[in-house]
């Protein structure tokens, strides 16, 4: 099969025999390439069948991952999926206003999230619950956004995990600015003390790649050599729009046009995502950033709990992706090589159930914010205008309490 690179830049001098295997112009325009798996370009360390694939380039980046580490990654994956399913159920029970499921993207998020060092910074979109978990954010603290009682209240500076960004692509420029700041502060390319070096990772989806902000982020990061890893989770669907509505070209190949490396990793392979992200973060810390990673994965559930995927995609697509499940392949691998036994898996399942129960208990008891919260922290500096609006409104509300008391 000819490589997409050749399709993008056809050799004008090629003879008919050399081009016979290439897709027709109609196929190209239909963008079929954007949703194929990338063939030989796909980086994969753990196959869907649980087979470890050797990679001279990326093996060194997971050389430390022994069975114990792999068991911990497995635990992360299971807990994050269990928490995601619990939150989804709580939305169905009216306890959350909406939920944005990550089902199917656990490996992309845990693999990349666990690649980060404490000093690295992460800018999520709004589906990165697994990354937040990997950054040490209490999963309970993610619920307030979806219960609509707050808009993100974890300790951003401590966890180095920026607030969720809902406007598609905005965070890419914000992350780029942050990474530029890391560079201006001399936190990049310190040869003697790598511990001083920092990098930033920014999460966005296949749909976001069409946004101007993502394009501008690519341009800015490139011209300022910002230590920024663009981590695109291509889950194949932007609500109802498939990736071919966003691109003719496999997304990772866009990096070439901006002048930095782009690679496609199996987003359902936690080991592959860990290795590739570590490689990219190292490149950034050493001053060779930015890097684009396309994690090729699949959104196994709806866009959000308000969505109905049966209107726009066939269930056999989902069934095909179930065979590439990110968790199952780790379980098979651990089982086959003796890295874990049945007791371990049972213990993890129990821990996940306990985690979910705790989440559930917390969510059900989450208090509503008081009305005065409407007016708080609009500005950093005092606002007499808003103080007056707040007092007037609270006084108005008090009027009801007084009237009720008299009756």
């Amino acid at each position: 099969m000819s490589s997409p690179e050749q399709w993008a830049q056809p050799d004008q001098g090629a003879d008919a025999a050399a081009t016979a295997g290439q897709p027709s112009a109609e196929q190209v325009i239909a963008g079929l390439r954007a949703t194929t798996e990338g063939g030989a370009d796909l980086i994969q360390l753990l196959t869907p069948e649980g087979e470890r694939v050797a990679s001279p380039i990326f093996d060194p980046y997971v050389a430390d991952v022994d069975n114990e580490s792999l068991r911990e990654l497995y635990r992360d994956l299971v807990i994050v999926r269990r928490a995601d399913r619990e939150a989804n159920a709580m939305q169905r029970q009216g306890q959350l206003g909406i939920w944005v499921p990550l089902l199917g993207q656990e490996a992309a998020q845990i693999g990349s999230g666990r690649a980060l060092r404490p000093k690295d910074m992460a800018f999520p979109s709004y589906r990165e619950h697994g990354v937040g978990y990997a950054r040490g954010v209490d999963f309970k603290e993610l619920l307030g956004i979806f219960r609509c009682s707050d808009q993100g209240q974890w300790d951003f500076a401590k966890h180095r995990f920026h607030p969720y960004t809902i406007v598609i692509g905005n965070q890419v420029l914000n992350a780029c600015g942050y990474a530029m700041g890391q560079k201006f502060e001399g936190k990049v390319g310190n040869q003697e003390n790598d511990g001083d070096n920092e990098a930033t990772i920014c999460y966005f989806g296949d749909g976001a790649t069409s946004q101007g902000d993502v394009h501008e982020g690519f341009v800015w990061a490139a011209v300022y050599d910002a230590p920024l890893v663009f981590f695109c989770q291509n889950n194949q669907w932007a609500i109802s729009e498939p990736t071919e509505r966003q691109s003719r070209l496999p997304l990772y190949q866009r990096a070439r046009g901006y002048g930095f490396p782009g690679m496609r990793v199996d987003g359902n392979d936690v080991l592959g995502c860990l290795a590739v992200t570590r490689w990219a973060l190292d490149a950034c810390r050493n001053g060779n950033g930015p890097v684009l990673i396309e994690a090729f994965t699949y959104r196994m559930d709806a866009h959000t709990t308000t969505d109905d995927p049966t209107r726009y995609r066939l269930s056999d697509e989902l069934e095909a992706w179930k065979l590439k499940d990110p968790i199952e392949r780790v379980r098979v691998h651990l089982t086959r090589n003796g890295g874990a036994d049945a007791d371990f898996f049972a213990e993890v399942d129990k821990a996940a159930d306990d985690f979910a129960a705790e989440l559930r208990d917390f969510c059900f008891n989450m208090p509503d914010p008081p009305p005065e919260r409407i007016f708080s922290n609009v500005y950093a500096e005092p606002s007499p205008v808003l103080d007056a609006q707040r007092e007037e409104f609270l006084s108005y509300l008090d009027g009801f309490a007084t009237a009720g008391g008299e009756r």
């Binding site: 808009q151 607030p163 780029c176 942050y178 101007g212 341009v219 800015w220 500005y379 205008v385």
Partner: protein
């Protein structure tokens, strides 16, 4: 009320190495005062950065950042790619990192690619995070007409930004305010749109001594710039001079007009306006922007609420028309001028 600059007793940091910020007063244009204010802010805090198109070697198309890259380096005065969303969006990220970015938008008509970042991130991050994340970003915007330019170079979009909770919007109208207000905006922890009256940048007539050792007026304070009794003119930015000229002309005919420079369009400091209207009974709001849903609309609404029994006439407005900015051959008709202001004063007096 008017609050004249106090004598020098503030703990202003002295920078003997600074090439062009002496402590003594000098005659400055608005443009030069902004330049010196930026220089002072960069000297005072090495987290202050300037981002914009052509702000480096060129010194900006209006030369407001002239010489700053030479003295502070390319890591503090950034010639950016031509992308306004990028300018604002990366400034937000730099602010999250602890910097105090000052963005320059080349002309107000080019700010709109950045509007999404301004509205969705810059204005809301502090509220979203309940104060955990501060975004002390200043966006400098040359605005207003009267320069004989092509489309998108003469507009007054400030009302669009004043409508956004979480943002502050100010405008200077003289060299003293230009010098101080830009520094105050930079030290503020809130995001601020700083509108600069571009046609006055290099006005020799407005040259004024700037006492760089003085204690400045509060940033978000309006100020009575001329006292009068017959009627009140409220204005900001480029229309302040128009109103002062109108007041001078009226005085020649025996009518004393009070003129108030708003200085801050968000938050509005209307107490001096209310005080004035209670004395004069008549108010004319003057702005180059279209009148519909604008700063002047807000003034009308608030004055009728607070000064209902003091008004001898409805609050009138002299503004640009509710049209796109016209071809510049017509701008003398579009822009409020001395005659249109005095015509409105006459209507108010005859009510």
């Amino acid at each position: 009320m008017a609050a004249p600059a106090k004598s020098a007793n503030s703990a202003t940091v002295n920078h003997p190495e600074a090439p062009t910020v002496p402590s003594s007063a000098q005659n400055l244009t608005i443009g030069k005062a902004l330049n010196l204010g930026l220089r002072k802010a960069m000297e005072d805090d090495d987290k202050v950065l300037i981002l914009g198109e052509d702000v480096g070697k060129l010194g900006g198309v209006f030369r407001i950042t002239d010489g700053l890259q030479k003295d502070f380096g390319e890591d503090r005065v950034l010639d950016t790619p031509l992308a306004e969303s990028g300018i604002v969006g990366t400034a937000v990220g730099l602010a999250v990192r602890g910097f105090r970015p000052v963005c320059e938008i080349q002309f107000e008509g080019f700010i709109f690619p950045g509007f999404d970042q301004i509205n969705s991130q810059l204005a809301k991050l502090h509220y979203r995070t309940q104060g955990e994340v501060k975004v002390p970003v200043v966006i400098r915007v040359p605005y207003g007409g009267g320069i004989g330019a092509v489309e998108h170079h003469s507009e007054s979009p400030e009302s669009l930004f004043a409508h956004l909770p979480g943002l502050k919007v100010v405008s200077c109208a003289n060299p003293v305010d230009a010098y101080w207000m830009i520094q105050q905006a930079i030290t503020s922890d809130d995001p601020i749109l700083f509108f600069e009256p571009k046609r006055l940048y290099h006005s020799g007539a407005l040259k004024a001594p700037v006492d760089t050792a003085a204690t400045p007026e509060r940033l978000h304070a309006s100020r009575v710039v001329r006292q009068g009794t017959a009627a009140t003119l409220v204005c900001y930015g480029p229309t302040v001079q128009v109103c002062l000229d109108a007041a001078t002309a009226a005085a020649n005919e025996g009518m004393e007009l009070e003129v108030i420079d708003l200085r801050s369009m968000s938050p509005l400091d209307l107490a001096p306006v209310f005080d004035s209207v209670r004395r004069t009974g008549r108010l004319i709001a003057v702005s180059e922007a279209p009148s519909e849903s604008s700063i002047t609309s807000e003034i009308v609404a608030r004055v009728q609420q607070d000064c209902f029994y003091s008004l001898e006439a409805p609050v009138l407005r002299v503004t640009g028309f509710d049209t796109p900015y016209p071809p510049a051959k017509l701008e003398e008709h579009y822009l409020p001028d001395l005659d249109r202001v005095l015509h409105a004063v006459d209507r108010a007096m005859d009510w």
